[in-house]
């Protein structure tokens, strides 16, 4: 591909202990078939989570693009380039995780996330909104790292890793709120504009 020595940092810099390996033989509910209502709601939940993660990826992309556009076509300093590339890598990885969940939705292997589903959805929605507006890029990178951790945990379908990841994400969101005291009108956590691509 390109000759330029792109410093592609693999995914998130401060990667949490995200289980990259996937349990080969999923200890799923293969024994007892879920009732039609259960099975459908489970698949829908998994798809919904994948949708939210994709939306986060869209947010990351929009954020990176708005940072780039601030330079109005001129030179972008090396440090900023590195940060942008790190976020781009994270975005791409997040999309792969989301695709994994779409495959899971088809397979319905991931057991229902149950009560934490709603909280999870809310958190990821919150994260998508925050990514757009945070002022410190380092906060952004940490937040994205937590999101990746959550996505990885979700794919395992196991409660403990998911709860841990949710906790870490919530913590990071609180930190960001501290660094970004709400000014007038920042509490509009409305729909994130999709990434522009001609």
């Amino acid at each position: 591909m390109a000759n330029e020595p792109t410093t592609r940092q693999p995914g998130a810099a401060a990667a949490p202990a995200a289980p990259a390996a996937v349990p080969a033989a999923a200890p799923s509910a293969a024994s007892k078939p879920p009732s039609p209502a259960e099975a459908l709601s489970t698949a829908k939940q998994v798809e919904e989570l994948a949708d939210k993660l994709s939306a986060c990826a869209d947010s990351i992309h929009a954020r990176v693009m708005s940072d780039i556009r601030r330079h109005g076509g001129g030179e972008v300093p090396e440090a900023e380039q590195a940060a942008a590339r790190a976020l781009l890598d994270a975005e791409i990885e997040l999309r792969q995780r989301a695709n994994r969940l779409y495959a899971e939705a088809a397979a319905c292997i991931v057991s229902s996330l149950g009560q934490s589903q709603q909280k999870l959805i809310q958190l990821t929605t919150d994260a998508a909104a925050k990514i757009q507006h945070i002022t410190r890029i380092s906060d952004g990178i940490s937040l994205v790292a937590r999101l990746l951790g959550l996505a990885a945990a979700a794919a395992t379908g196991q409660v403990m890793p998911i709860l841990a990841a949710v906790g870490a994400l919530k913590l990071q969101l609180d930190v960001i709120t501290l660094h970004n005291p709400p000014a007038a009108g920042t509490s509009t956590a409305s729909a994130v504009p999709p990434a522009e691509s001609a």
Binding site: M1, A2, E4, T6, R8, P10, G11, A20, V22, A25, A26, S28, A30, P33, P34, P36, A39, L40, A43, E47, A50, D51, S54, A57, D58, H61, V64, M65, I68, H71, G73, G74, E75, V76, Q81, A84, R85, L88, D89, E91, I92, E93, R95, Q96, R97, A98, N99, R100, Y102, A103, A105, A106, A107, C108, I109, A195, E196, S197, A198
Partner: protein, 289 residues
């Protein structure tokens, strides 16, 4: 003497009436005209476009996106690839069973009686129903149910079968399988969306960063590539939508038939089915462009 003749005459008449009525109710030899729209609809449903091609596209996602992935993303993508490939056959089998069902329905609604046993054999022994098969239990059950129905009908040479009984017996399984196909098509579309954003995303970022003079050729190549890819994805996006529309129409048409078993030949039903049939043909044409 008179009584006996009268009796034998009435027996004859009853026999004749029975044959006539029996012929009509069987809808096999007589009355194909009134089930023409059913046949049209079934034919169009059997030839529905999009799902097969989009299933293949879903299976081959990794091939297309691989050049654009970082090492970390590539690791995850490889796992995804293995999963997609493992379940592809099952996704295709569902469609095969539905196609065969529609072909059988079409035969029942018409005059021909050619042998569909080869297609039945092609369905195989069943889905790879294990934890990784990629289908929910109820879809597997629906597939099994439908293939059993088809085996009974086809192997018996369509005896004692009418369109009405076929629709009545097959509707639940048909609807479950169609729902599976609709869900899968939707998941295909979302996966494709992530693929598109992965492929195009890199250029969004790297082109603005390549401002030196020696980057000019590279940037030009990148911009041309970007445009080609963007156009490609725009065209593909439409196909998911068309495929979903088609599947929905098949589901609706069959549902209406189920609700109107005793009135399949009524004017309203015929108009409705004719409309669905035309829509399906139009969708198929749009997809074959």
């Amino acid at each position: 003497m008179n009584l006996r003749r009268f009796q034998s005459l009435s027996v004859l008449l009853t026999l004749a009436a029975g044959l006539l009525l029996g012929g009509c109710a069987n809808t096999t030899a007589n009355g194909p005209v009134s089930l023409y729209e059913v046949r049209q609809f079934a034919d169009a449903s059997a030839r529905i476009g999009g799902y097969g091609e989009l299933s293949r596209r879903y299976r081959d996602t990794y091939q297309r996106e691989q050049p654009y992935l970082s090492p970390a993303a590539d690791r995850i993508a490889r796992e995804n690839d293995a999963r997609r490939r493992a379940v592809y056959d099952d996704f295709v089998s569902i469609q095969k069973s539905l196609v065969l069902y529609m072909q059988t329905l079409s035969l029942l609604a018409g005059e021909g009686r050619y042998d569909l046993t080869p297609q039945l054999d092609d369905l195989g022994t069943g889905l790879k129903a294990n934890a990784e098969s990629g289908l929910q239990q109820r879809h597997i059950a629906a597939y099994t149910g439908l293939t059993r129905l088809l085996t009974r009908v086809i192997a018996s040479g369509y005896q004692n079968r009418s369109v009405a009984t076929m629709v009545r017996d097959g509707d639940a399984d048909v609807q479950a399988l169609l729902e599976a196909m609709i869900t899968l098509t939707r998941l295909y579309a979302k996966t494709n969306d992530n693929e598109k954003k992965t492929v195009l995303g890199i250029f969004d970022v790297e082109i603005p960063f390549s401002t030196k003079n020696q980057d000019r050729m590279l940037v030009t190549l990148a911009k041309v590539h970007y445009l080609n890819k963007a156009t490609e994805y725009k065209l593909v996006d439409k196909r998911y939508d068309l495929a979903l529309q088609g599947l929905t129409k098949v589901s609706l048409g069959h549902q209406r038939m189920r609700e109107n078993l005793n009135n399949l030949t009524g004017d309203e039903m015929r108009k409705l089915l004719a409309g669905y049939g035309r829509d399906l043909v139009a969708l198929r044409d749009a997809l074959s462009d």
